[in-house]
Amino acid sequence: MAIYKKLKTRPAPLGTKGIIYWIKENLFPSITSSVLTFLSFLLLYYTIPPLLDWMIFDATWSGTKEEITGSGARWIFIFEKFNQFIYGFYPEEQYWRPNLILAIFFIYVIGFKKTKSTLLRAFILISFPILSFLLLYGGFGLDVVPTTKWGGLLLTIVVASVGIIASFPIGILFALGRQSNMPIIKTISVIYIEFIRGVPLITLLFMSSVILPLFFPEGMDFDKLLRALIGITMFQSAYIAEVIRGGLQAIPKGQYEAADAMGLTYWQAMGLIILPQALKISIPNIVGTFISLFKDTTLILIIGLFDVLAMVTLTSTDAKWLGFETEGYVFVTMIYWIICFSMSKYAKSIEDRFNTNHR
């Protein structure tokens, strides 16, 4: 028999916190680690300074092509061709239209966050795509800019956002369809998803640009961009469906049962109980597929649409600016990276906001 006294808490011993302790513990805890740390620093030393020299210190930031002196990047090429990278062949006097859309976008985002009215939010969500299309395409007194003139980053963003927004609800429906008890709906969903996932995006783009018009009456002109959008949406919705199905499967059976036992209808149970949880789990993967889609939009080049990457390739064949493609590609790389990285950061913030586990 023994009885123990309650012990007091006391501070951690000296030398177990602070910067020096951290460095010792994390960078040089053993010989192998120390060697790896040293090699990593060496690698950084040989790569970072030359890169910075090329990109910033020896770079040419202004002047004309003839005045280039430094051995670094010649960014004047980017400045010269900037509008083409961003707007493609969109008429210069109409640049204000995409710019206005961007401004409306930011105003809407702020409005959406500030307002609590569901009605206003619905208005924002519905009016934005309509307004954007009217502004970009024209009509109603504005000059019509045919989609063949759209290009550059503008086109990349149009294709990616239409693909993302349209594929999301379609993907949810196919995910639910695949989980359905109704054999016909289930079979159709499975065939659709497995077929689309079994072919490369390029094939789908070719199909929608070559085969789709065969189904339409002779002479009916079917917009090339619309064909690309259909192909991309079909492709993306199959992937979204699979990602969401993964989320649906992670929801315990008890959640379905509790919802059923309450007398909720199928759509109420899905919309109020199952999907909010399944989508929350799926956010990282959904954003992952969005990011791949954003990068895959470069493939529209092969059906003759000029996105931002294609514009760089095109402008560097300009006889006046031969040999400047390196700067162009570095620029495009940075654009893609900034957008994709922002998407993944934004996803993280949504994930944190929806986190109700509070363990």
């Binding site: 509790a258 036992a261 309450m262 007398g263 909720l264 109420q268 109020l272 509070h358």
Partner: protein, 248 residues
């Protein structure tokens, strides 16, 4: 309209999982205000039996009437029956993405078509009744198991059910939390709600049940008043079962 004789009437229910015969000729009639406890070894079909009452489990033969309504394949009829029957699960099955209050007002607003304000009033009433009103804005995972199960009971009560089904409500709880849940259930029983409870809490059965049913291998083996059931079991299987659970 004459007074209904039975709230629940199960006639000759037979159910198979593939070739496995899980329920064999189950007959169960529960009067209004009656409290029935079902016990039996695991796999005996007791959970399956009560899950048939709100059609969480389909059955192949037999008929079930809930408050006089026949449980058919019709989706609308199934939902109608479910609004009259509340079910408390072993693992609570609260909705983790909704706060406690939102969990409670969900059915009244979406199924009962009540206003949000009215639903909140009802919800707070029942939360007070299960002594957990101060946790209304928390999320389920912030609560202990016992508290979660009390919330789950309150959630059922918000739909104003005529019948409450309990599917091993204390089986997933830590021992020190079983008491608080049984207290709430006892209070409910004393208020006269019709209840069917699958449980191994024999103390609860003795204290509240009007009738105790013993199931084994998919059939009802014995049913009796609690006193007779525990003190004078007839069948060998029940004797063995009682010996085993009372041993420790």
């Amino acid at each position: 309209m004459s007074e209904l004789e039975y709230m629940i009437e199960m006639n000759e229910i037979n159910k198979w999982y593939g070739d496995f015969h899980v329920l064999k000729d189950v007959n169960l009639k529960v009067k209004k205000g009656e409290r029935v406890v079902i016990c039996g070894p695991s796999g005996s079909g007791k959970s399956t039996t009560i899950r048939c009452i709100n059609r969480l489990e389909p059955f192949q033969e037999g008929e079930i009437f809930v408050k006089g309504l026949e449980l058919t394949e019709d989706v609308k009829r199934i939902r109608e029956v479910r609004t009259k029957v509340g079910m408390v699960f072993q693992h609570f099955n609260l909705f983790p993405h909704l706060s406690i209050l939102e969990n409670l007002i969900l059915a009244p607003t979406w199924v009962g078509k009540k206003s949000r304000k009215e639903a909140i009033k009802i919800a707070m009433h029942y939360l007070e009744r299960v002594k957990i009103a101060d946790q209304a804005d928390k999320y389920p995972n912030q609560l202990s198991g016992g508290q979660q199960q009390r919330v789950a009971i309150a959630r059922c009560l918000c739909s104003d059910p005529d019948i409450m089904l309990f599917d091993e409500p204390t089986a997933a709880l830590d021992p020190e939390m079983i008491g608080e849940v049984l207290d709430v259930m006892t209070e409910l029983a004393n208020d006269g709600i019709t209840m069917v409870c699958v449980t191994h809490e024999m103390g609860f059965a003795k204290k509240v049940a009007d009738r105790v049913i013993f199931m084994d291998e998919g059939q009802i083996v014995e049913e009796n008043t609690p006193i007779e059931f525990f003190e004078n079991p007839k069948s060998d299987r029940l004797k063995l079962f009682l010996e085993q659970i009372l041993d420790h």
